[in-house]
Assembly symmetry: C2
Homo-oligomer: 430 residues x 2
């Protein structure tokens, strides 16, 4: 069982914090939101309890691993990349690509059109043993198609027109789009993205599950944690703390003028998890002139970069700390220089202890300075806990969409630049 | 000569943008700020035109390289890490640590107390051929000392008490602090951080220059670009566009209520440059209830994550694009699937072309949506241009400090959490 707790005490106890009256006033709307949510549950809610997407993802991953693939290039952008990157960074070894043993093929992300990144990937991969996974729901994302065409050119050169196809996977809409057309023509392997799940909610579809399985992560545990969250939200409704969080962050923005929501994990491996959340919150809620700005930070690192601003800058932020109670690895700090008072006191403690002491110290200092903050605690950092947390934040974001009265599942604001790009690149009809 | 240009047109032309009258009203204060700046120039202004710090950095780097060191661990946090990381990420190969040739020792950053990171570094380094550079101006930063003590324990075990010392460098205050005391005792090699240059302005001291030189970067070109900026600021004063930028961003925050400044380079290698800038701006200005919130993004990637919020969310942001006119590397997009209209149109273009077309498209779409944005253009991405830009943004930040009427060179707000940490970790006297 995943143990994930949410603590909003310091959003209430701080001066100018959120009071019972405000929460009660919003209470009816929150009840309505969660009722509506369960009456017509978004597609992402059924993902944790089906093997429809995990089974083919695991099977294909086994095939790639069994063939001894040396390199696996994941091509995708936005929701087709941020989930897989967050999982990889949170759960795999930080030097995964450097490890002398074989945890799986080296994993590369081509998520931008910057030639610096793709050229570097092509410098290091062993093409004859390289697989590419092209992830775009629509099948026509310009950045993703461009990366694919360049990688395709290299694969064809290395393997020939016939064999290159065996090294390609398309993760795309189960029925429509250009990749689907190419797959029909060339016999490319495909994995489905369900039509009712948008990119930023797709981490538990093959978008996230396939690359996770390729690197040896336990996708069943991911789903198990997420399923636990689904059950607990169904049981507790508006009282589930992730749902309550929607109300807290909404009120902090709309009633208290705090338009910046800082997510600050005290764990290096969660830095890209924060980036995943930034998309989820920003793209779901940032419309019709509404939506707070999610901003990622990392503790302790950003104590030496941004905490000055959080402590003494304008009262325009809420800080959301994520702490890991029991870190998967730890290192004792050995004894040395015990006569030097600014050095020796560290001996006998551990690195994880120092990290969590600093986390507590920052939380206390923020509270004392009248800076509202909340905390999510994970008993540990593993697939199950991360699955729970991702599902919980997806629920929170969807409910926040109702409170903001926006459609959390579209992104009309990115169309204009796309049209201009298509026109300037000479796409027919634009 | 570096060619770095600043374009504020879209901060003026947008509805509710900054007008001549507002700039004129601020004009006198801006003149005063730049006069005061040159009357008593901050320490960072003399760095570009002296070999005092580059010479010893280069010499020691040569020694490390000549010995064939396989691994180099840079230990530091905040201003002792963000500059070196920004340079490494911007100018070295994205897979520097994986390259089969020897560009220099593999470079590792231990910038947090998270044991996940340090344990991973210790998993992969070849200890007998590993060097460690411990960077803390005060010589007592808890995170840095903790990392050092753990690494030290491992080095002593691998090399013995006598030899381990030859693998250690302290980059610290030239006169004071615990590292200075240890160095005196053990004969450790040291590099100086000048007392009048604070961490976030220290990239052109040995803090940034030594690791840059270890990996083979051209530190003279970095300094040359920065020196060009110093000369141009001296020549143009309040008319230098970096100085003007201080006025624009100050007005956007204080007069227009835009409390978020987004820095969005259209270049993957500049993602950590944005993180460097975030500290510079946040920690320098975030005090006395003032200071806007710097936020990093990357184009095109964040078009698929955050641009929805920038385009249609609240009018609380300024977007600052950084574009690279001539990317150091490029890849042609080969012909394929020309009958598929959503795919074939990309053939014959290049990746860099697509990247810059998207940059232009986003700028245009933002303007059309009434979203203020500015652009910094770099003719290319190399040491000289980056040196110029870093110096320019340091000047801009210092001048912004005058406009905000805060001391840009202290960070009183991080003390409280430090005291609590010391007390809980049992440091004598706390």
């Amino acid at each position: 069982m995943a143990k994930v707790t949410f603590d909003y005490t310091n959003l209430r106890e701080v001066e100018g914090g959120i009071g019972d009256r405000e929460l009660q006033e919003l209470g009816l709307r929150l009840e309505d939101a969660i009722d509506g949510f369960f009456k017509n549950p978004p597609g992402f809610m059924r993902l944790p309890k089906t093997a429809e997407f995990s089974s083919p993802s695991k099977a294909l991953a086994e095939e790639v691993r069994a063939l001894g693939a040396t390199d696996f290039i994941h091509v995708g952008i936005g929701g087709s990349a941020l989930g897989p990157i967050a999982l990889h960074r949170a759960l795999n070894h930080p030097y995964y690509n450097l490890l002398p043993s074989y945890p799986g093929p080296r994993l590369h992300f081509a998520e931008n059109t910057d030639p610096a990144t793709l050229a570097a990937i092509l410098d290091v991969v062993d093409l004859p043993n390289t697989w590419v996974n092209v992830v775009t729901k629509s099948g026509s994302t310009a950045e993703t198609i461009a990366n694919f065409l360049v990688i395709r050119g290299n694969l064809v050169e290395a393997l020939g027109e016939g064999t290159y196809r065996e090294h390609v996977v398309f993760t795309t809409d189960s029925e429509e789009g250009y990749l689907r057309q190419i797959a029909d023509r060339e016999g490319t392997r495909t994995l489905p993205i369900p039509p009712d799940v948008g990119g930023r909610f797709s981490v538990l579809t093959p978008v996230g599950l396939f690359p996770a399985a390729v690197t040896g992560l336990d996708v069943d545990a991911l789903l198990r944690g997420a399923a636990q969250c689904v059950d607990e939200v169904a049981q507790r409704g508006a009282d589930h703390p992730a749902v309550e969080g929607a109300a807290y962050y909404y009120l902090m923005d709309v009633s208290k003028g705090r338009n910046v929501r800082v997510m600050m994990p005290y764990a290096d491996p969660l830095d890209r998890f924060a980036a995943w959340f930034v998309q989820l919150w920003a793209e779901s809620l940032g419309k019709e002139g509404r939506g707070s700005t999610p901003h990622g930070a990392v503790g302790t690192t950003d104590q030496h970069s941004q905490v000055q601003l959080y402590m003494e800058g304008p009262q325009d932020k809420v800080i959301e700390i994520i702490e890991v109670e029991d870190h998967p690895r730890d290192l004792p700090i050995p004894k040395a220089y015990e006569d030097l008072e600014g050095v020796g006191y560290l001996s006998g403690h551990t690195m994880a202890e120092l990290l969590n002491v600093e986390c507590n110290a920052t939380r206390k200092a923020l509270l004392e300075a009248g800076r509202p903050n909340a905390t999510i605690s994970l008993a540990t950092l593993d697939e199950e806990h991360l699955g729970y947390l991702m599902q919980a934040l997806e629920v929170q974001t969807a409910i926040a969409g109702s409170l903001y009265s926006v459609n959390a599942f579209n992104q009309p604001g990115v169309e204009a630049a796309k049209q201009i790009t298509y026109s300037r690149m000479g796409r027919p009809g634009y």
